[in-house]
């Protein structure tokens, strides 16, 4: 072995790791700190090891960020500097805006009332908190990140790839399909959840199932679903539908 001052024994390295991770017993920590302040060489070794560990973590993070980046949806319309609207163009712009407003309100007022109710009430479930992830559930929570970003297609794809399906996964796949305007698919997943008597998501599943049926135009089914859910929105919707 070479004998430069950088050399460090396995025991020393592990002691430094314990110190950094705060897993040293009080007595050992006291001795460690005493040596740090009295032994200049040891202090250098310690600082070097610390930088080495920070370097390993930083480079690992760097490499992980590139993987994260692949999941960022690419901007569909490139960001271009908006040219200033010139006066003559402004007139055209106003004319176009008028047409849009007229057409839009026509569409809005003729919109099916079910559809309107649906749009008024539908907000995707906010999702589960993703800061308490345990490594065993990495794939599930990884998809949850996409879900929370509104990338429902990717979330569904990842959840569908998981080997075991439970009510939590079915529930979120269902809501994601609904958010993606696939109410038909949403219903098939949400029905699985609503038929499980013990499910934590049963209440919410019935609510979203009601919304999905409402969107499909099946009012009777929707009413049944809302009746099975006791959240505030379900009650409100039920009273509107029963009018």
């Amino acid at each position: 072995m070479e004998t430069n001052s950088n050399n460090i024994s396995q025991e020393q390295l592990e002691a430094i790791e314990r110190y950094i991770n705060n897993t040293m017993a009080a007595e050992e920590q006291y001795a460690f700190e005493a040596r740090l302040s009295s032994d200049a060489d040891f202090k250098i070794q310690f600082e070097d090891a610390k930088t080495l560990l920070l370097g390993i973590e930083t480079q690992s993070l760097k490499e992980q960020l590139d993987k994260f980046h692949d999941d960022i949806p690419t901007r569909k319309t490139p960001y271009t500097k908006s040219p200033k609207i010139r006066y003559l163009q402004l007139r055209r712009f106003v004319a176009a805006a008028m047409i849009i407003i007229v057409a839009g309100s026509f569409w809005f007022f003729n919109q099916d009332t079910n559809e309107k109710l649906y749009t008024k009430y539908f907000v995707p479930d906010p999702g589960l908190p993703t800061t308490m992830s345990s490594s065993t559930n990495f794939e599930f929570y990884d998809a949850m990140v996409n879900y929370k970003q509104g990338d429902y297609t990717k979330a569904i794809q990842k959840w569908n790839a998981l080997p075991a399906k439970n009510d939590t996964i079915n529930y979120f796949i269902g809501v994601a399909h609904l958010a993606n305007n696939n109410e038909h698919l949403a219903i098939s997943y949400l029905e699985k959840v609503s038929s499980e008597p013990e499910s934590y998501f049963k209440n919410d599943a019935n609510y979203y199932l009601g919304l999905a049926n409402l969107k499909e135009g099946d009012i009777e089914k929707a009413k049944l679903n809302f009746a099975l859910s006791d959240n505030e929105n379900s009650k409100a919707l039920l009273s509107v539908l029963n009018k």
Binding site: T51, I56, T58, S60, K62, H69, I72, Y79, S133, Q149
Partner: protein, 190 residues
């Protein structure tokens, strides 16, 4: 109930980031990118600039959390800090000669961006750069082992069972990998 969630989440995010929790990091990374991309694109940058700038800033925030240089009170403060760092770095890029002189090009700007670390002149920063490079090019088995242990914080016994080895031999292997890394760093010093 959602409110309690939110409070818990605020407290946990910083700890989770410090512990390199992949999901917390990913969510934080993904949810802040678009703001910084918009900043760069609106100010004469490209998507590539945005990605590089964002990653540099993200790592700077992570490092400052780890070393306790920055201790945010809540998530909004954390997000604001990230944005501020990115903004300052981008202003530095825009002011730089490399950017002004070579307008349509991309490469020089990117190189400049990469060098433009706040503590560039710091000896320690130089040393860290050498380590990053050495670790980047370290052979795969060692790199994986050290990443699992030091970055992903996997316990030795878990790594051992994944590799189908005894814990003691993984422990020894880890030490030898560290020595290998250290010797590369040491020999590549200017």
């Amino acid at each position: 109930m959602r409110e309690t969630y939110e409070k818990e989440r605020q407290l946990q995010l910083v700890d989770a980031i410090k512990a390199n929790d992949p999901i917390a990091l990913k969510e934080f990374y993904m949810s802040n990118y678009s703001k910084i991309e918009a900043l760069v694109l609106k100010n004469s940058g490209s998507v590539d600039h945005a990605k590089d700038l964002y990653q540099e800033s993200f790592i700077a925030v992570w490092k400052n959390l780890k070393t306790k240089t920055f201790q945010p009170k809540n998530n909004t403060a954390l997000e604001g800090y990230l944005y501020q760092i990115a903004k300052n770095k981008w202003m530095d890029v825009l002011r730089s000669n490399a950017f002004k002189k070579t307008n349509p090009l991309t490469n020089d700007k990117l190189i400049f961006l990469k060098q433009n670390d706040d503590e560039l002149n710091d000896v320690k920063e130089e040393q860290l750069k050498t380590i990053l490079k050495a670790f980047k090019n370290l052979g795969q088995p060692c790199k994986q082992l050290l990443t699992d242990f030091y970055y992903s914080k996997k316990p030795l016994r878990v790594i051992a069972s994944e590799l189908d080895l005894e814990e003691a031999s993984v422990r020894n292997k880890k030490y030898r990998c560290m020595e290998k890394l250290r010797s590369i760093v040491f020999s590549s010093k200017p």
